[in-house]
Amino acid sequence: MIVTNTETIAGYRIVEVKGLVQGNTVRAKHAGRDIVAGLKNLVGGELKGYTELLTESRRQAMERMLAQAQQLGANAVVNVRYTTSAVTAGAAELYAYGTAVVVQPGP
């Protein structure tokens, strides 16, 4: 599966458009992370717990999106975009969406 955030794929030709595919996940930060982040907020530096949370969420949303693409019989997803939205103070949604297509090598 070729995945890009551009509309075209260099070296490939889009032969069929399968439609929009999407995946989302809502994940909560656990209290321990919040406490560590609160302490880290005094001395500065990277909040690794939150970075990991984003990475995990992004991977999960991506997996769900790719599963949809697979089901549609696509072999590539183009123009992938990510958005986040905070549901409440404790949880955040990460949403990935793109267009599933069938591509062939060629100009």
Binding site: K29, A37, L42, G44, A89
Partner: protein
């Protein structure tokens, strides 16, 4: 009265902690960013949707995503709260967001480089809202800059001008 003095001392200690530890973390981070950026200067980085300089390579283009969450320190947050009173540019948060963006971009570049690509295009930088407390949302709580960077990695010939 004693309570007031104690809380003033406590605040001063936290400010000093922010000044020394926060300043140390920031200088370390900026030095690390500069060294890593210098090492990857040969990569072609654009936010164009086309593939400038594309050449056929071993692997097809690939989406690469990375994120970075950089926290504020007590001094920065304190300075910003003073700034809210008189208005104007909040310089302490500007560097925070700048560092988060550079860090996220570098992580994308490093992953692309490790996977054998030498160029990225369509670089997108978004601020990620995690729990409504991001520095960009202007709310109280944990003050942080959360950035999500995405780009498509591909193989390019050295651009000639």
């Amino acid at each position: 009265m004693l309570e007031l003095i104690l809380s003033a001392i406590f605040t001063l200690v936290l400010l000093a902690l922010g000044y020394f530890a926060g300043g140390y973390h920031e200088r370390q981070h900026i030095a690390s960013l500069e060294a890593r950026e210098a090492a990857l200067r040969h990569m072609v980085v654009t936010q164009l949707r086309s593939y400038p300089g594309w050449v056929p390579g071993d692997a097809p283009p690939r989406l690469i995503v990375a994120e970075a969450v950089i926290g504020s320190d007590f001094l920065k947050t304190f300075l910003a709260s003073l700034r809210y009173l008189i208005g104007g540019e909040v310089r302490s948060f500007r560097s925070l967001l700048d560092r988060a963006r550079r860090e996220a971009t570098l992580r994308v570049l490093e992953e692309a480089h490790a996977a054998g690509y030498n160029a990225i295009c369509n670089l997108r930088l978004d601020s990620a809202d995690i729990g409504g407390n991001a520095a960009t949302s202007g709310q109280k709580g944990t003050v942080m800059a959360a950035i999500l960077a995405s780009a498509t990695a591909y193989q390019a010939a050295r651009p000639t001008y």
